[in-house]
């Protein structure tokens, strides 16, 4: 037992730099796998609705705008989004139609302003088996 065993540690900290950063002026880098806000690459979306089905917060909504033109509207309710990135994992296309950005200052004073929508024509992707280039290259080589 000795009195004030913590004292040397306390004194050492008088000469240390602060452990925090001055946030609004200096920002820390977010990690590589950071899950920010989801967004859609409309050129790749085949409207399979896998993201809508798996979203735990029911933040994704896909509705048909024009049946004949195959035009759809996707709304992402960022006020409900829990930023789990399951929509990106569920997206079946390569490259993926759903992406996460790296923004973290996404607060707003009105939840209605946080909606984001895209109106787009459904993408028609060629199935992998029908892709001609690699098969044609095979026999000639």
């Amino acid at each position: 037992m000795k009195i004030a065993a913590f004292l040397p540690e306390l004194l050492r900290h008088l000469f240390k730099k602060p452990a925090t950063v001055d946030y609004p002026f200096k920002k820390l880098e977010v990690p590589k796998d950071f899950r920010g806000t989801p967004y859609l690459n409309t050129e790749m979306c085949i409207v399979c609705r896998a993201c809508e089905r798996d979203c735990p917060a029911e933040a994704i909504e896909i509705a048909s705008v024009n049946e004949a033109e195959k035009r759809f509207r996707m709304v992402i309710h960022n006020d409900r989004c829990v930023h789990c990135a399951q929509c990106v994992d569920s997206c079946p296309t390569t490259p993926k139609a759903m992406h996460m950005d790296r923004l973290f200052e996404i607060a707003d004073d009105d939840r209605h302003k946080m909606k984001k929508d895209w109106i787009y024509v459904r993408a028609v992707l060629k199935p992998k088996a029908a892709a001609p280039a690699p098969q044609a290259a095979g026999p000639t080589a």
């Binding site: 000795k2 004030a4 590589k32 735990p56 789990c84």
Partner: protein, 400 residues
């Protein structure tokens, strides 16, 4: 002459809402009554309406500190139902995150214990060191609190060489710091004097009241799911169950510091022996009918999830037994014969997580103290009767 002192549901000494009613004679507590239900969110019912994938993120939000514990407990249960075998690399990463979470939870608790004992510099230093492990978790999973690294059949993020090196580096720093805390705990007379002999819980009471986790281990009852029912990778790792036999808050501090050191060892083993290969296998949408009980050693003790499947893509029943709930009867025993001034310290010593433990609604009549557990249909009828003639609240429309 005895008085009743109510503490909570909102009280500066408690971080979460719970109501404790102490019957006191002078300074000494003679009886305690714990009332739950101020933080009930209906998560189990909600889980029945979401599919297997969505529920991972739902159970993760049961708690903010042991988020990975609940998600892992749920996922390993569902994987058992689906008869999935996740790849070994996926399992190693999953349980690496769970050990890192144990480290951050115990460091957080050490700070809280220091704070409750009036040793605030200890609180600040442990929380500063906790940032090291929080940064590691952020680096591995992408986010700080809800890691969302589990998926059915494995994990969602892989580890690269740079990350492995950073984890090992962080473990070296943390081990040095924890050994220093162990030294402080053994040598700082004011801190030891405050926590020794407070909140006594003898071993026979631990067994009788089914205490779990560090609370039980501090009374010499070496129970740890990782050791006695080794799930996933724990069977092939080398670690010891930390115990203490002082049966008081001092013992709980010692157990947690020892567990920190064991966790550093486990993390290093898992990073060094990380197998190559895939991190996840594809999971089916639907589950065959069946039921499973999944056990997991969370930082606070044994976490149990009961899952019942009925052949659809949604669970029929999900029951969560969080470790804090198992520790409440023991807390009553610890508080008895204690002093009023020790309440926050003793209560904090079980590392209570109120939001984990809230699973039922009980109504108490304020006047007579009469209690009744009500059925959902009765609650509904009461609510309809109450709101039938009430005027419509302005601006209270769900606007989406």
């Amino acid at each position: 002459m005895s008085f009743q002192v109510p503490i909570g549901p909102q009280h500066p000494a408690l971080k979460e809402p719970i109501s404790l009613r102490m019957t006191v004679e002078g300074e000494v507590i003679t009886d305690v009554d714990i009332r739950l239900g101020y933080n009930h969110r209906g998560l189990e019912k909600l889980a029945e309406e979401k599919n297997w994938i969505q529920n991972i993120y739902l159970v993760e939000r049961i708690c903010g500190i042991c988020s990975h514990s609940h998600a892992t407990c749920y996922v390993q249960g569902v994987e058992k139902l689906m008869e999935l075998a996740p790849p070994r690399r996926g399992l190693y990463i999953r349980y690496l995150v769970s050990e890192l979470e144990r480290i951050h939870s115990h460091l957080l608790w050490l700070g809280v214990a220091g704070h409750e004992a009036g040793f605030d510099s200890f609180f600040m230093y442990t929380w500063r060191d906790r940032e090291i492990v929080m940064d590691l978790l952020e680096m591995i999973s992408g986010n700080r609190v809800h890691y969302a690294i589990n998926t059915l059949g494995g994990v969602r993020r892989d580890l690269d060489e740079g990350q492995k090196a950073k984890i090992l580096e962080g473990m070296v720093t943390l081990r040095k710091r924890s050994e220093y805390y162990f030294h402080i705990g053994a040598n700082e007379p004011s801190f030891v004097g405050r926590i020794a002999g407070v909140g006594l819980l003898p071993k026979d009471k631990v067994v009788a009241l089914c205490a779990v986790g560090p609370t039980a281990r501090a009374s010499g009852w070496a129970r740890d799911v990782r050791k006695e029912d080794p799930y996933a990778v724990y069977g092939e790792l080398d670690f010891e169950v930390a115990t203490a036999d002082t049966c008081d808050v001092l013992g709980r501090v010692v157990v947690r510091v020892k567990e920190l050191l064991e966790s550093y060892k486990l993390c290093e083993q898992m990073v060094r022996n990380l197998p190559a290969g895939d991190i996840a296998v594809k999971a089916p949408r639907k589950v065959k009918p069946g039921e499973v009980v999944s056990r997991y050693e969370a930082p606070r003790g044994e976490n149990i999830h009961y899952i019942k499947a009925n052949g659809t893509d949604k669970p029929e029943r999900l029951k969560v037994r969080a470790p804090t709930l198992a520790n409440y009867p023991a807390t009553v025993e610890m508080l008895r014969k204690g002093f009023i001034a020790d309440i926050p310290l003793i209560f904090a010593a079980i590392d209570p997580c109120i939001c984990c433990a809230e699973r039922a609604v009980t109504l108490v009549k304020a006047g007579s103290g009469e209690e009744s557990v009500v059925r959902m249909s009765d609650l509904r009828r009461q609510a309809i009767a109450r709101h039938q003639n009430a005027p419509v609240k302005r601006n209270a429309v769900w606007p989406l």
